[in-house]
Amino acid sequence: MDTPSSAFGSRASERAMRIWTLVVLAFIYLPMVAVVLASLSKIRFFMFPIKSWSLEWYGSVLGSIEIRDYLWTSVLIAALVTIISVLLAIAGALAFARYDWKGRTLYQKLILLPIFFPQAVLGLAILLWSSAWDIAPGWELAVFAHLVWIVPVVTLVISIQVYGFDPAVEEAAFDLGASRWQVFKEITLPILWPGIFSGALFAFLLSWGNFPLSTFTTGAEQTIPEWLYAKMVAGYTPQVPALGTLTTLLAGVLLLGGYWLGTRRRKQ
């Protein structure tokens, strides 16, 4: 009979789990390492092992006007999606987890549906929908398409924060003399801030890296992921892995930065 000697059950299986987790992590990051390596290869077509190394492709990425255009489009879309989705999601999360109201359980299930749907098909459906309303594809439509998927995600993230929130705290502030707006500004918002911050971060990164929705809704304009895909399929240069590495670095920096800010705030 196994006598548990630790939280899990036995040292051997704990070690096995650690090893397995490392294997999975290696599995996850191996292709990303491959991308980094490919970006450092001097020659145009990828061959491993790399004989000559060069950073020139990074230079050409950073210097490319075309790429700068797509970068701008991506950032524009991501920034708008972030702002709008956070505002909608704060309200949505309060409706999800804070106030008891008739229809709440139905609302909870409905609002999460877009997460459980393949994005490519959704993108095509939105394209069809936009043509019915005579709306031309473009970055505006892409923002809309991103919102359909991202608002539920951010709502979920903020709702988790809302669940841990003692509603009596709002009532106490009101009782002490605060107006509704003061309660929201002084009490609700600061307490929810960690969730809002993570939500905003997720919104930005999910929009920034999105391909299936963007590809069908941006029309003539292009985002970075679209450009990457086009070049991957035809006209490959190491600019592709170079830009891929840069965007990965950006995501990593934002995530770690957000985490670091979060822990620093908690320590204050």
Binding site: D2, A7, P31, V35, W101, F211
Partner: protein, 315 residues
């Protein structure tokens, strides 16, 4: 503002109206009840998100379903409804794409359940929500899937990382590893891993430690604890992860395109082709409708059985 009914007000002693001289106000009916319902703060706050939901999700999908019964290769919805697109689906080889998609989705889901369980377990119990580990596992979600899949292409290509290393180290020449079904599954498993992992971790976190210890204390073996205590208690999380993975792989497109080449045509690819190159919106819509139906039945089926408050407030 109407505060919600305080939980301390017990309903165990409810009395009906008309008892002992206490006359209750007449039950609100019709418009008055509707107005009262609309004034709930929760409802008002839900409207913006619901607006996006209806305008961006329900609307487009409803239109797709309508288009599905329009004549093939037509545009606009002014025509008489017809089922010819569905006939085409079953006569031509489109149902094959469906079958393949379902098969690959099942395979990926099962594989991911096996891969992710130990990690989910570790996340929740052994590593005790180590932030670094969570961050490392979350990061891939935010890197464009094209980039990540491309990494696999670079690894498995001729003269790629794997082939190149083996050639240099051992002089082996490996045949082309890309553009077949197994590598497509690899891609799917790879991309959708976080979508299985995190709901599972949520499920595992719902197993109270005390239940496990009690089971051991009563003489259960580790396998019995796993089967009788852990799996049932983590089931909501497991089901969500499985459903999410299945549905997303079912409708996926990039993995088959980038890693699978022509070896597998997923249903989403057929839909895309119908909408773009073939300019056959009704056919694309019909295919989409079947996908919507399948997805809808599964998702609504599971979600209706879940208590989201209980699930999410644990965290």
């Amino acid at each position: 503002m109407n505060a919600p009914v305080p939980s301390s007000v017990s309903r165990s002693e409810a009395r009906g109206p008309g008892e002992k001289g206490s006359a209750l106000p007449v039950r609100d009916r019709g418009l008055k009840a509707l107005a009262g319902w609309a004034r709930q703060p929760g409802f008002l706050l839900s409207l913006p998100a619901l607006a996006v939901f209806i305008a961006g999700f329900v609307g487009p999908l409803a239109l797709v379903v309508i288009y599905a019964v329009m004549p093939a290769r037509s545009f606009g919805v002014e025509h008489l409804p017809t089922l010819e697109n569905f006939v085409t689906i079953f006569q031509d080889s489109y149902y094959l794409s469906f079958a393949w998609s379902i098969g690959l989705a099942l395979a990926s889901t099962v594989i991911l359940m096996l891969i992710c369980w130990p990690v989910a377990y570790g996340l929740s119990r052994v590593f005790r929500r180590s932030m670094i580990l969570t961050l490392l596992l979350v990061l891939p979600l935010f890197v464009s899937e094209n980039v990540r899949l491309f990494g696999w292409v670079l690894t498995l290509l001729n003269h790629g990382i794997l082939d190149g290393s083996l050639r240099t180290l051992f002089g082996w020449e490996v045949p082309d590893l890309l553009y077949n079904v197994p590598v497509t599954i690899l891609g799917m498993v790879y991309v959708y891993l976080p979508f299985m992992l995190f709901p599972m971790a949520l499920g595992v976190s719902m197993i109270p430690e005390a239940c496990r210890e009690a089971a051991f204390d009563m003489g259960a073996t580790r396998w019995q604890v796993f089967r009788e205590v852990e799996i049932p208690l983590a089931m909501p999380g497991i089901l969500i992860g499985a459903l999410l993975t299945f549905v997303l792989v079912l409708g996926s497109i990039s993995e088959a395109k980038i890693l699978g080449g022509q070896s597998v045509i997923m249903i989403a690819h057929d839909i895309e082709t119908a909408f773009t190159y073939a300019q056959n919106w009704p056919l694309g819509s019909a295919l989409s409708t079947l996908l919507i139906l399948l997805t809808g039945v599964l998702v609504i089926g599971l979600l209706s059985k879940l208590n989201l408050d209980k699930l999410l407030s644990r965290k």
